[in-house]
Assembly symmetry: D2
Homo-oligomer: 345 residues x 4
């Protein structure tokens, strides 16, 4: 059994990693850490897991983590990851980092939106863990920068179309909507029930840090530098992310060509579900799963393509994709630990 | 006191009309009708209003309605309105129709998306009741076609900018989100709690009937025929509508020019609230009110304008605007009946 | 116009006071204070009230508050109220205190559940502001201890029955359910959306501090010392409180006798709505109002009486009842400021 | 592999059976039926299961069902089950019936609350499928009457205490709260999102048909006929049921004795989780699982015992317990198909 460590297990992405890894057939969850809850039994933080996780949270001491693990998942805030990654790699551990610290190839873009990078030499070495797109590189990687939730939901429907030049990448507008768990476990006015309930609103318009992450990947596939418009919104629900992406199409592109393109890229990808015509992705249908459901319409009035995707922001948008990447890295079945039957509601 | 009738009072828009008119200082609610609930006390359908509305629902018989009213609000499905309007006008009543039947000038557009129009000669006579834009015409009208909720939320932030040529109307993309009350009171899978809760999804993509209504009004202000992309989404909340509208700007347009334009059009409009820079409209802040809150950002990466509005779909998006139109028609204070202090949460 | 001050205006009860007083026909809101938000415009804390409340929050300095007000509402935590009340009374102000500090006659009971009382001599002077029960005393009071939300919801249906000996007060079990706003505006795990959504649970079982408050009032009406069982629960909704109270009846008591008793006590009370047989109180029907809806059933199998009430915890359970008490104290119409037409949904 | 049929697969309990059986290691889901959706692919009704369930719904023809199954789950309305059970048993099939038709031993009680029983001779043969209590009988049964959700949640914490005479069964009051999925998939005003959201209310007070089901089982353990008070409430959430049960204790019973009693009965029951002192069951912690979490407090003021339980009404309250019973009947591991790691949120 592969020994897996989750550093930062008390946050939502960390807890979801604990859930998935606890049910993974090829993995033993060996270490979980939480600075805030060091010494505390995990199932007192998340009582749902009473009987399934018997570990206590430890402090995030690098040596102990490295000693007791083969793979390390870092579910830490930006910057905290950078501090641990070099040591873990030096100790021979493979790392999936869920922060933004290793998602970028372009150091300037990273530093413009986050902070100075303290181990920029590893940025090249790191593979961007969008599993369906970069799966082969992921398989060989020692360090995976696990994608953000918004980038995952926008890039999966879009990249094949950009690659095959069916759409004009300079026209991309991504109108995205996230459940509240995306804001993390920290208590704040933003996440207060009475502030969220019956509320729908945009936030960080024009300045969300997932913008450059999306742009870097579109640019790579477009083979030129591309800027997009990305607006995130908050939905009064716990889990789920829906993205509606607007993009101009190339001449003679119709819904069937879109389908052919997506099918040719994704027919062997177990977590992509292309919906039949006239059906649109619904966060309820992917809740708790690693699926990305994709639908699309060519708007009859304007000819614009409307691409829609739905994911669970904590699973395909975070912990699930991280485990999917681990599966690729260690040669496990890509769906191992991620194949539970979805709930009908 | 003006005698007001609400035809179709048991639906959500009708019930909201009953609420507002019951508290209106210049109006006596004289007749309410409901085919389904004829003979039933209104407060057994909506027990919240126990003690405030003592009327029973009557059948929707035209003569009785006309006899006992000065103004008639029709909160009926499309087509049912057409059948009543000519008779009511002939009887000398003024009418605010909340269906789509009298929202269009363009008969072809109406018939392409709805059905044959049985009194097309009244389409020209009818005034489109977007109060802040067509207030003067409304004041003189005998027949007002009250706007759809989505068109209200999209047109209010957009029309002044189109008129002053600050934006390119051919580039409009409206990504709109509505609470569940927009689907009406009828029970269906669509409105089942377990179907809505934790669900976010687009619907009727590329074929919602509010599209031509929005297009007709933008075209009028653009002085040319314009098509837009409009995608509605359903949000797990009862009331509220947020629209995020993307549009290319003319050269040298910045956030300040947008503000100047909107302020010059709306400075004397009591139900428009222009938000300070960096604040975005939130459905929670307009819940139960007739306000349309408007915010905007020029996306720094692409220069696109992102316009955002929030309304209560049942108030400014339906019953509230209908009463505002009545106020204009009868020379009441524009805010009469609509000036309650909003709830902080 | 009476000048009213709200001390602690940024909390939920305080904000609700600001809302109600801003629409009150006989009152001018003259001072609002908030230690946390001193110097901040109220409508940046609660943007819904943009255009309605133009005051900034001040610090809670006693002299300034007293100077600019005739009535002072204290929406402060327990203990903070005690520190201000003597000074305000000395300055000749009348006070409605929403904390627990002046709800008790029994000093020992207060001190056993809260802390040492620093102005116990005022406990006798204070009137318990359960408006429908103690209205005459409230009218003459300088200091009103405004009831807790749970006690209000339990005592209103119960006290008339205890007084007329239709029920055995020693058998009272109160199973109560509250919306999340009852937990206050402070951010915590308890109020995090993801913690509340899809969650229903009891809390503080057997040790909630509203227990002695309920017991003191039942005991008074029973003319003997009575203990009750009270269990509060948290409901995933913003506003609302439902209480289901179980109590053994005296011989030959049936549903009609219950109705007669409640009607004789409440027929002239504008905020009590006794439901027809077979209808049960629903928090949705009292949302945003000062009503207490009451229903009841004599359980056919056991003969136990099941009493149910619904209130809005922030209105009848806090700010609304506080204003109702002010109305009584100053001879205003009891419903002044509280007579808005309820929303149908 | 055991061949399993689900009759009535399109309802919520049926769909949940489909989910669980699709992931069961020892079972092949062979037939699913739905009168309403005959001929329709299951995953068009429940798109979440796209890729997991490839069956179409069939009509509910008895011969076809019997032919292609070894075990039949009936997720039908009351009365419809009665019509199928004799034929299925005659064909040698074992049956778990989720309706009320075979939950009662007492024919009179059944007929008083439901309707005439058309195969009363099978009522004795049927075993009441409260797995933890009647597991041995279930193992040998051909026909299991699967318990109602409310009875499951009330009886599991209560029956051991009644059996060991720690409580007085004549004093039981069960105040129960259910998520909306308990009302079924049918669209109605009751389940309309706008009717449920921000609503909490009791329903069917004193006349819910789960009352006699609870009473029959308590009476059996009390060895005398007992009546209880049971009040169900509706909570604005999809899944989950919390029951707060009040009961007088025998002399000298304290919280520790309660624990000892429950532990001695349940220490080897994998789906019962007894919470540590001071922790109370939360529906969020059992969502999607077959667990029944149990907590309790002896109310310090009155000495009454407050028992609390939380289950997922669709799992332990319906489909999960049905599969647990099948596991017992066929000698599978009791947790087979039901051992997925719970979601932390």
């Amino acid at each position: 059994m592969l020994r897996a460590a989750v550093v930062g297990a008390s946050g939502y992405a960390g807890a979801e990693l604990v859930r998935i890894l606890s049910g993974h057939p090829d993995v033993a969850l060996s270490v979980i850490t939480s600075r805030q809850y060091a010494g505390v039994a995990f199932d007192t933080i998340y009582p749902a897991l009473n009987g399934f996780v018997k570990l206590d949270c430890e402090g995030s001491e690098l040596t102990a983590v490295a000693k007791n693990s083969d793979i390390v998942f870092l579910a830490l805030p930006h910057k905290a990851s950078m501090a641990m990654v070099p040591g873990l790699l030096d100790a021979g551990r493979r790392v999936v980092d869920l922060s933004a610290d290793f998602r970028f190839n372009n150091r300037d873009a990273y530093e413009a939106h986050y902070q100075a990078h303290t181990c920029a030499h590893l940025m090249d070495k790191a593979v961007y863990g969008l599993s369906e797109i970069y799966g082969e590189k992921v398989a060989a990687a020692d360090l995976v920068g696990n994608p953000g939730c918004y980038p995952t939901s926008v890039l999966l429907p879009l990249l094949p179309l950009v690659k095959e030049k069916l759409v004009d990448p300079a026209t991309v507008i991504a109108d995205c909507k996230s459940g509240v768990s995306g804001a993390g476990r920290g208590a704040s006015q933003t996440t207060h029930f009475c502030h969220v309930n019956e509320s729908f609103k945009a936030y960080k318009v024009g300045r969300h840090r997932h913008t450059p992450e999306i742009e870097e990947n579109i640019s790579l596939f477009a083979e030129r530098s591309v800027k997009i418009t990305f607006v995130p919104h908050l939905v009064p629900m716990t889990r789920g992310m829906e993205s509606t992406v607007y993009v101009a199409t190339s001449p003679r592109v119709d819904e069937m060509l879109i389908r052919q393109c997506l099918e040719s890229h994704y027919h062997d990808k177990p977590f992509i579900r292309l919906l039949p015509g006239g059906r649109f992705p619904d966060t309820l249908h992917v809740k708790g799963t690693n699926f990305c459901d994709i639908g699309w319409v060519v708007d009859p009035g304007t000819g614009r393509l409307v691409l829609m995707s739905a994911i669970d922001n904590l699973v395909k948008g975070a912990a699930g994709q991280a485990v999917q990447n681990m599966n690729l890295m260690f040669g496990f079945d890509e769906t191992a630990g991620l194949s539970g039957v979805p709930y009908p509601l």
